[in-house]
C-alpha cells in the first residue's frame, strides 16, 4: 500500500458530526440525570439502581481506554503476538476482582473503597492514608489519559493539543458535575457499546477479505512479515520484570478506585458479581477484536504505512478503518475513540472527587458530621478542581514520556490499595496502625522504586543505568505492603476492631445492613 493517502489528521466532517452527535446525546442524558443527582447516594452511586449487565458494560467502558484500543491494536500491528501477551495481563485482574473483592466491597462500603478499610478502624488516619493511595492512583492514570488524549486528537483531527485537552476537560466536567454517577455510567455504557460495535465492524470487514477464516489472515501476515509475527518476541526478556508487571496488572485492577467505586452503583452483592462476569466477557471479546484488528492493519495497511503516521503504531486501527470502510467509517471510529477518552476521564474524575468529599471532607475534616447537601456540594467542588487540575497537568506534561504512568498507577493500586482492602476483609486482627503502615509502605515503595527503575531513571531522566533493575516495582512493593500490615497489626493490636469483626462478617457474607 505504498500509494495510500489517508485523510487522517485533517478535520473530518463526518467524525466531527459523529462526535457532536455523541456529545449532544450524552449531554441530554446528563440533563435528565442532573434532576436525579441531588442526594449523595445518587451523586456517587447512581442511587444504586444500575443493573448487573449495565454495570458490566460500564466497568468494561472504564477499562477499555482509547490507549488500550488504539495502543494495543498498534502494538499488535507492529509486534504481532507480543501485543496479545500485553492485553492478557490487563484481563487477568478481573477474576481477582471477582473472587476476592467485589462482593465484600459492595456489602461493607458506601461510596469509596476506604469505607471498607475504615469499617472497624479509626476513621481519620485510615481515611487520610487511603485517600493518598486513591488520589495518587487517579492522578497518574488521569495524566496518562489526558496526555494520550491530547496527542491522539491532534493526530486524528489535526486539532491543536491544548485545544483538545481543554475540550476533553470541559465536556468531562459537565458530565460529572451535573449528572454525577448516573450520567457517568450512561456515558460509559454508550461508549462501551459504540466501541465494541465499531471494533466488531472493523473485524467483520477484515475477516470478510479472508473468507471469515482468521487463520488465513494470520497466514497472510506470516507470508508478508515472516514467522516472527506469530511468535513471542522480546516482550518477556527478563522473567522477574515480567512477573513484577504481571503482579501489578493482576492485583492493581482490584485496587483501582474508579473501578471499585462502580460496585456501589448496583443494588446488591449478587448484581456486583454478575457485573464482573459481564465485564470480563466484554473485555475478553474486546482484546480478541483488537488482536485481529492489529493483524488486519499489519497485512492490509502495512507496517510501513502504520509507522509513517505514528511511530508507536497508535493510528493502526484508524488507518484500517479507513482502508476497509472509507472516510465515513474512519470518521465514525475516530469519534468513538474520542468518546472513549471522555468517558474514561469522567470516571476517574468522579472517583477522585468522591475521595475528596466523602473520605477527606466528611470523614476527616468534619469528623463524619456533615449534611448530605454539604457532602454533594464538596464533591462538586472536587470535580471542578480535579477537572481543571487534569487539564493543567495534561498541558504541563505535553510531549513528555508518560507511558510509565499507567504502570505506576497499577503498581500503586496493587501495593497501596489492594493489600489494605484484602486484609481488612479477611483478617480479624488487622489494626489501624497496621493498615496505615501497609498503605504508606505500599505507596512509598511503588513510587520510590519506579523513580529509580529503568522506566523513569533511564527513559525519563536520561541516566545511563537504573538503580533498581525492574521496570515495575510491584513484586517488591505488594509483598512489603502485606508484611507492613501484618507487623503493624501485631505491634499495635486493636481489641475494639477485633470485637467488631463478627458484626462485619454478618454484613459482609449475609448482606445484612448493607447500604
Amino acid at each position: 500500500m505504498t500509494d495510500f493517502t489517508s485523510t487522517l489528521g485533517q478535520p473530518n466532517a463526518v467524525s466531527i458530526g459523529f462526535f457532536f452527535l455523541f456529545v449532544a446525546a450524552t449531554l441530554v442524558i446528563t440533563y435528565f440525570a442532573a434532576k436525579k443527582s441531588k442526594s449523595a447516594s445518587q451523586f456517587y452511586a447512581a442511587g444504586r439502581s444500575v443493573t448487573g449487565l449495565q454495570n458490566g458494560l460500564a466497568l468494561a467502558g472504564d477499562y477499555m481506554s482509547a490507549a488500550s484500543f488504539l495502543g494495543i491494536a498498534g502494538l499488535v500491528s507492529l509486534k504481532g503476538y507480543d501485543g496479545l501477551i500485553y492485553s492478557i495481563g490487563f484481563l487477568v485482574g478481573w477474576p481477582i476482582v471477582m473472587f476476592l473483592i467485589a462482593e465484600p466491597l459492595r456489602n461493607l462500603g458506601k461510596y469509596t473503597f476506604a469505607d471498607v478499610v475504615a469499617y472497624r478502624l479509626s476513621q481519620k488516619p485510615i481515611r487520610v492514608a487511603a485517600s493518598c493511595g486513591s488520589l495518587m492512583t487517579v492522578a497518574f492514570y488521569l495524566i496518562a489519559q489526558m496526555v494520550g488524549s491530547g496527542s491522539l486528537v491532534q493526530l486524528m483531527f489535526g486539532l491543536p493539543y491544548e485545544t483538545a485537552v481543554v475540550v476533553v476537560g470541559a465536556i468531562m466536567i459537565a458530565y460529572v458535575l451535573f449528572g454525577g454517577m448516573l450520567a457517568t455510567t450512561w456515558v460509559q455504557i454508550i461508549k462501551a457499546v459504540l466501541l465494541l460495535g465499531g471494533a466488531s465492524v472493523i473485524v467483520f470487514m477484515v475477516l470478510a477479505k479472508y473468507g471469515f477464516d482468521p487463520s488465513d489472515l494470520f497466514a497472510a501476515a506470516v507470508d508478508k512479515y515472516g514467522d516472527k509475527v506469530l511468535a513471542p518476541g522480546g516482550m518477556v526478556a527478563n522473567p522477574w520484570d515480567a512477573l513484577s508487571l504481571g503482579i501489578a496488572l493482576m492485583f492493581g485492577t482490584a485496587g483501582l478506585p474508579h473501578i471499585l467505586m462502580r460496585f456501589y452503583t448496583v443494588p446488591d452483592a449478587k448484581a456486583a458479581r454478575k457485573s464482573v462476569f459481564y465485564a470480563t466477557g466484554f473485555i475478553s471479546y474486546f482484546y480478541i477484536l483488537t488482536f485481529i484488528i492489529g493483524f488486519g492493519a499489519m497485512v492490509i495497511v502495512g507496517q510501513d504505512v502504520v509507522t509513517k503516521f505514528d511511530k508507536g503504531g497508535n493510528m493502526a486501527a484508524l488507518l484500517l478503518a479507513e482502508v476497509t470502510g472509507g472516510t465515513v467509517f474512519l470518521g465514525f471510529i475516530a469519534a468513538v475513540a474520542f468518546a472513549t477518552i471522555l468517558a474514561v476521564v469522567a470516571g476517574l474524575t468522579l472517583a477522585g472527587a468522591s475521595t475528596f468529599s466523602h473520605d477527606l471532607y466528611v470523614n476527616v475534616f468534619k469528623s463524619g458530621k456533615a449534611t448530605e447537601e454539604d457532602e454533594v456540594k464538596m464533591a462538586k467542588r472536587g470535580t471542578i478542581f480535579l477537572g481543571i487540575l487534569a487539564v493543567a497537568l495534561g498541558i504541563a506534561f505535553k510531549g513528555q514520556n508518560v507511558a510509565f504512568m499507567v504502570g505506576l498507577a497499577f503498581a500503586i493500586a496493587a501495593s497501596a490499595n489492594f493489600p489494605a482492602l484484602l486484609m481488612s476483609i479477611l483478617w480479624r486482627r488487622f489494626s489501624t496502625f497496621g493498615a496505615a503502615a501497609s498503605i504508606v509502605t505500599g505507596s512509598v515503595l511503588a513510587v520510590g522504586l519506579i523513580v529509580i527503575s529503568p522506566t523513569v531513571w533511564v527513559d525519563v531522566l536520561g541516566n545511563q543505568t537504573a538503580i533498581f533493575p525492574w521496570k515495575n516495582p510491584a513484586l517488591i512493593s505488594l509483598p512489603a505492603a502485606f508484611l507492613a500490615g501484618w507487623i503493624g497489626s501485631v505491634l499495635r493490636p486493636e481489641p475494639d476492631a477485633q470485637a467488631k469483626y463478627e458484626q462485619q462478617k454478618i454484613r459482609n457474607y449475609l448482606g445484612m445492613g448493607a447500604e
Binding site: Y81, L84, I85, I88, G89, L91, V92, W94, P95, I96, M98, F99, L100, E103, S215, F218, A219, V222, D223, D227, L230, A231, P232, M235, V236, N238, P239, A242, L243, G246, M250, K270, R273, K274, V276, F277, T280, G281, S284, Y287, I288, L426, E502, Q503, K505, I506, Y509, L510, G511, M512, G513
Partner: protein, 101 residues
C-alpha cells in the same frame, strides 16, 4: 436492622458458608494465578513451546493465548454459577432461620 442479629445466628451454618465461599474463591484464584504466571514462565523460559508450529503457518502460542483469555471468562463464570445457586440459597436459609427465632 432491629435487635442484635448475632444472637440468633445459626453459627454452624454461617461458619460453613464463610468456609465454602473462601474455599471456592481461593481455589479459583489459585487457578488463574497458575494459568497466568504459568504462561509468563513458559514465555520466559520455554518460548520454543509456543513457537511450535501447528499446521503450516499457525503457532501453538495462538490457541494458548486464547485459552488464557477464555479461562478468565470460564473461571468467573464458574464462580457466578456457584454463588447464584449455592451461596445465595445458604444465605437465604440462614437469614430465614434468624428471623424465625
Amino acid at each position: 436492622m432491629s435487635a442484635d442479629p448475632v444472637k440468633h445466628l445459626d453459627e454452624d451454618a454461617f461458619r460453613k458458608l464463610v468456609r465454602a465461599k473462601w474455599t471456592i474463591s481461593l481455589v479459583l484464584t489459585a487457578f488463574i494465578l497458575v494459568i497466568y504466571f504459568g504462561f509468563i514462565l513458559v514465555l520466559a523460559f520455554a518460548k520454543d513451546v509456543l513457537t511450535a508450529k501447528i499446521g503450516t503457518h499457525l503457532t501453538l502460542g495462538l490457541p494458548v493465548g486464547l485459552g488464557v483469555i477464555l479461562s478468565a471468562c470460564v473461571l468467573t463464570g464458574i464462580y457466578v454459577y456457584w454463588a447464584n445457586r449455592t451461596y445465595d440459597a445458604s444465605v437465604r436459609d440462614i437469614i430465614r432461620s434468624m428471623k424465625g427465632k
